[in-house]
Symmetry: C2
Subunit: 230 residues, 2 copies
């Protein structure tokens, strides 16, 4: 139906599901029935299957043999490991950024931060999550290491999943302007405060999780993918 050079048809499916998870439109535990995906995404079954395999590799979906795929439900241990890994990687990214010679592109960061703030003010939950992730990803991109960027991208999606699973509904989405603080700290060109700031930020995220309770909702794939999300 769509042109979409066939080479990346699988990428398209992966990206669509990935994004739906990252933006928490697909809650953990949601069953992903092949036939439904084929219909919702106008894809063929083989491509869907391969895409699911890829997502399984990224721990975004879980595949049980003969039972099918569902959106993953990361355990508490996995959740902790993901945040610890992010701490390690984002610390490295900040060190690279701060030690970089040449003007670091603070303008781009500020712009991203502003977009996030705008989303917060409008109260658009999905946009907030997306923009927040984009901020962290932008740091990685500015650091100029595609390998770290790739790894972090996956970890951010997994973080969304974890937050979606464990977040306390009562808590506010994001305390204050922590991303602004990080920008300021990076601007100072002194690694230690910047690292402390990032560490504090990730710690905040983790602390706001309720690691004892979660609920699983059921979801209509047609609705989730129906809008202009692909």
């Amino acid at each position: 139906m769509k042109p979409a050079n066939k080479a990346s048809e699988i990428d398209r499916i992966v990206a669509t599901i990935d994004r739906a998870v990252a933006e928490q439109r697909l809650p953990p535990g949601t069953r992903l029935v092949e036939a439904q995906l084929v219909e919702s995404l106008n894809a063929n079954r083989n491509h869907v299957r391969v895409a699911l395999q890829r997502l399984a590799l990224k721990r975004i979906v879980t595949i049980e043999p003969n039972k099918g795929a569902s959106i993953a439900q990361p355990s508490v241990e996995e959740a902790r490991a993901v945040f610890a890994a992010r701490s390690v990687i984002e610390r490295g990214i900040i060190e690279i950024l701060v030690s970089q010679r040449g003007a670091l592109n603070l303008a781009l960061l500020r712009k991203q931060r502003d977009q996030e703030q705008a989303a917060i003010e409008r109260g658009q939950r999905e946009a907030i999550i997306r923009e927040s992730g984009q901020f962290h990803l932008l740091l990685a991109r500015l650091a100029g290491n595609p390998v770290l960027e790739d790894v972090l991208k996956d970890l951010i999606t997994r973080s969304s999943l974890i937050i979606s699973l464990y977040q306390r509904h009562s808590d506010p989405q994001c305390g204050c302007d922590e991303h602004g603080d990080i920008i300021a700290a990076i601007e100072g060109r002194d690694p230690l405060p910047a690292i402390q700031c990032m560490r504090h930020h990730l710690n905040d995220l983790e602390q706001h999780l309720n690691l004892d309770f979660w609920e699983t909702r059921s979801v209509d794939l047609q609705t989730v993918f129906g809008d202009d999300h692909d």
Copy 2:
């Protein structure tokens, strides 16, 4: 032919190719023809295709649409990025290890180091590469973070690929007992020397690469997979 619970048939194929690359039996650029893999690995074509997709995701193979898969030939930039990423991640791992309360399992590390030394003395190239990778992976495992461990595992395989591509044949495999030094530094429980040591080690690896020249050999898959490697 083999029992090999079907659930992980794809895993088996991926692991076999992965290991062949990590041990440099499959040089960069080698074409991976589906039909040959089906025969060499006693697998069905679908499984082989999915396995290749996975390996492509891990940047171990490159898939060109309608042209097939080959073992990747990482660019110089990618090589630098991989080593920089390892530096960030392994630094984090060491910090976790050093700050861990409770006895850190130095015995396991020493045993691994001894195995590597034995391989070096016997001059078994494949074993040396494998054991060296295992040492780094063991550090990750002892740090108790499966996420970092997974990421590092991929990076180590990619490192093998890079070394295989860019290494100067004249240089010795591995200078001196750098892994022993790392153990000693960790034992000291002081993070800084340990980190310096690891950084030095990775730097050594990178410095011993020739980033201007490489050659592509052709390889018979039957031979590569023929021995007891699966």
